[in-house]
Amino acid sequence: MLVVDDERSIRLLCRVNLVASGIDVLEASDGREGLELARQERPDLVLLDVMMPELDGWTVARELAADERTRDIPIVFLTARADPADRRLGQQLGGVGYVVKPFDPVTIGDFVEGVLVRIERGERDELKRGISSEPDR
């Protein structure tokens, strides 16, 4: 699983807690590095921050969707942007989850695993629909 966030502390939180849930974690500290890692490593899922310098999360999501190698990788947004309009944008960009900061890192492992299980079950569209109204925490 790939975590893309420019904030070192958020990456650290995600890594420690995801590893505790038995998930292997890759880290990228900006959008460009995130894209490169996603293309090279094809992670099962990307936890993607939105407000990042140069290449923001929205752009990363667009690029991932535009690339054959990465278009199927599920994206969960992990962001400080809580506006409904941002949720809708995340939905349009194909996100399957939308987590608003501050969030509980302890449950993040269960959350992403749940997402992956549901995708496995073919519920990806339901997940997408859900993110515009999903409660934060």
């Binding site: 904030e7 502390s9 958020i10 939180l13 505790a20 400080a80 900061k101 501050p102």
Partner: protein, 697 residues
């Protein structure tokens, strides 16, 4: 002719001469009547005489005066029809004199008089005529039977001719006199009415002018704004009676539905005229109120005229004239005068009101010309009726271009501007709607409200572009500030949650990292909150500056000392002062600026290097430079870094980011101390921020 006869004839001539002299001296009808009925009757050797004249309409005979008859003989004969079979009517109708020698002859001809007293024997009734027109008759009654031989007849006819001429002349004179008085009265009243626009006052004066010449009582009532009857004035010669009349009015306010009187006249707009006030009418008005009956009896109302004040087909009020204790009952001529007076009064009132309306209109136009809000009056067909200068300025369409034309033609965006505006009736709660619109090529935000007044719509327009931009900035600020707070909050919260996990064994290194994270992110949170607060205060212009003379070298040294405490080893920090001149500034604020600039210089020098603080004077200014050898700032971002929440690539800042407000606050603080903050930079080589403050003169 015998001596006796000739002496008798001379005597008659003398008496006629005497009557003629008296009649020549008599001026008023009353004097003429007196002369005829005293000297004339005596000259004719009659016992009694009476004079009757045709009324104006020619239908009746009115007994003007009599002398010598018993009250019983004339009671009920003050007026009788011309058609009546009575001697006077017959004579006036035929123009032929009537000579009745005896009571027998009278009773034979006029059987209805058979039961009358027998003391009147011979009766003569002669016509009174001028220029061949019979206007009345004179009756002479004698106390004996007389055969009227030609001389005697001629004498009576001569007397009648003299009387007729004198009476006609005096009546003409009286009529002229009355007419003159009326003309004078009307002229005076007109002058009063024209003297002032305060018609309340002038109408009261007109009422005053009407007593006692035209009436014992004169009252003026006006129709109020809501159709109510307002008594404007009551006049009577006696002020005490006027007060009493007002009290009466208070106790017995007019019933607007009353079938007679002022309410009726105001309702119908037609005059009401009672030459003789019918007692039934009074009884009906009084009802069972004994007190009111006493009052009405005391008033002694005889005759009333009530005329409407009508102008341009609207009834504005009513004028009431009352003949009571002194004034004779009203005639048609009085009614005509009252109608004329009311007409003039109404015109005066109407003019005064029109003038006031015009004045108010002029005031309103002035107000509309100067008010900052655009006001547009659009009629039901969409045509522009009014377009004030502010409306012209907001829409970019001049008044002369807009007036009389279709508003959607002159302002193509009009429908977009007004289609969502809820139109309310006059007095309604006109809620403005703010609409973005392109007017004259500029994007504007316009606040529009509309009131539909039936004949059209009045729109109020307000250009709120600036307010809207300000509001947007404010809401953006709040949104961005909350985003800025969420990340450090997430770090603190997440670190605590992770540290408290008991299902996972954290390494000591991780544990230490989380504790450090909590500390630094909490510090960052506090700093962001401080800066948000300060930025908000700067926006609200609520930051106070204490400009005092300060020692720049000391301030700079202090900044260097505190920065040195937590300086990375790779950075060297230097201070150079080249003749610091005294300046006036707020020392704390300047220190805050310099600390921030030095922090930034260190933060953006991840590879280390030299950071220098230089102080020097140049061209009347003091320059404080903070230079580094760090990353530098790309040219296209050099101004944007001073915007709120704009940040250079934070991943290059080694960890904790800022609030995004630091440089914004720095520039605001410097500018409020009358200085400037600018930046020069070359990417990869470093940046130099310069604070320029005016030297103290």
């Amino acid at each position: 002719m015998t001596t006796a006869e000739s002496s008798e004839a001379a005597d008659r001539a003398r008496r006629l001469q005497r009557v003629a002299e008296l009649l020549a001296e008599a001026v008023t009808p009353q004097e003429v009547l007196d002369a005829i009925l005293t000297e004339g009757v005596r000259a004719a050797e009659a016992r009694a005489g009476a004079i009757g004249v045709l009324t104006q309409d020619g239908a009746n005979v009115e007994l003007l005066a009599q002398r010598g008859y018993d009250a019983s003989a004339v009671t009920g004969w003050s007026s009788f029809p011309l058609e009546a079979k009575v001697p006077m009517s017959d004579v006036i109708r035929t123009g032929e004199p009537l000579f009745l020698t005896s009571v027998q002859e009278r009773n034979k001809r006029y059987p209805m008089f058979s039961d009358r007293g027998q003391q009147n024997h011979a009766l003569v009734v002669v016509p009174l005529a001028v220029e061949g027109r019979v206007f009345g008759a004179m009756s002479l009654s004698f106390d004996r039977e007389i055969e009227f031989e030609p001389e005697r007849r001629e004498m009576k006819l001569t007397l009648a001719r003299q009387a007729a001429q004198a009476l006609a002349r005096s009546r003409l004179y009286a009529a002229e006199q009355t007419l003159r008085e009326r003309m004078t009265f009307l002229a005076e009243a007109s002058e009063l009415l024209a003297s002032s626009l305060d018609y309340n006052h002038t109408l009261k004066q007109v009422a005053q002018l009407s007593v006692p010449g035209l009436a014992d009582w004169c009252a003026i009532d006006m129709v109020g704004p809501n159709g109510e009857i307002e008594r404007l004035g009551v006049a009577h010669e006696d002020p005490a009676k006027v007060r009493w009349a007002y009290e009466l009015q208070d106790r017995y306010p007019p019933d607007p539905d009353a079938p007679t009187g002022v309410p009726q006249v105001l309702r119908t707009g037609k005059p009401e005229f009672f030459p003789e006030l019918p007692q039934e009418l009074l009884d009906e008005a009084i009802g069972d109120d004994e007190e009111l009956r006493r009052i009405i009896d005391e008033l002694g109302l005889k005759s009333t005229i009530c005329v409407p004040l009508v102008a341009r087909n609207r009834t504005l009020g009513a004028l009431t004239l009352i003949a009571a204790e002194t004034h004779p009952p009203y005639t048609e001529a009085d009614l005509a005068l009252a109608v004329e007076l009311a007409r003039r009064a109404a015109v005066a009132v109407d003019n005064a009101r029109l003038y006031r309306e015009a004045e108010r209109g002029a005031d309103a136009a002035r107000a509309l010309a100067y008010v900052a809000d655009g006001v547009a009056l659009i009629d039901t067909s969409g045509s522009v009726l009014h377009w004030n200068p502010a409306a012209a300025s907001i829409t970019g369409v001049a008044e002369e271009e807009a007036l009389g034309r279709q508003v959607s033609e002159v302002v193509p965006a009009w429908d977009a501007l007004t289609s969502h505006v809820p139109l309310v009736p006059p007095g309604g709660d006109a809620r403005p709607v703010t609409v973005p619109i392109v007017l004259g090529g500029r994007e504007r935000w316009v606040s529009v409200s509309g009131v539909d007044f039936g004949d059209g719509t009045v729109y109020a327009l307000q250009d709120v572009t600036e307010e809207h931009a300000l509001e947007k900035t404010r809401s953006d600020f709040v949104a961005t500030a909350s985003h800025e707070l969420r990340t450090p909050l997430a770090a603190v919260y997440g670190a605590v949650r992770t540290l408290r996990r008991d299902d996972v064994e954290l390494t000591d290194a991780d544990r230490a990292q989380f504790l450090e994270m909590i500390e630094s992110e909490a510090t960052r949170l506090a700093k962001i909150v401080d800066q948000i607060l300060l930025a908000g205060q700067l926006d609200a212009d609520a930051v106070e500056f204490e400009l005092v003379e300060c020692d720049l070298e000391e301030v700079a040294a202090g900044v260097i000392d505190s920065a040195a405490l937590h300086l990375p080893a790779s950075i060297s920090l230097d201070l150079s002062v080249d003749g610091a001149a005294p300046i006036r500034c707020d020392e704390n604020k300047l220190r805050q600026v310099l600390v921030n600039l030095v922090d930034n210089a260190v933060k953006y020098s991840p590879e280390g290097g030299r950071v220098e603080l230089r102080v020097r004077s140049e061209n009347g200014s003091c320059l404080i430079e903070v230079a580094d050898e760090g990353l530098g700032i790309p040219a296209d971002e050099r101004e944007r870094i001073f915007e709120k929440f704009y940040r250079l690539d934070p991943q290059q800042t080694q960890g904790v980011g800022g609030s995004g407000l630091g440089l914004y606050i720095c520039r605001e603080l410097v500018e409020r101390m009358n200085g400037r903050l600018r930046v020069e930079s070359e990417p990869g080589k470093g940046s130099r921020f310069t604070v320029e403050l005016p030297l103290r003169r």
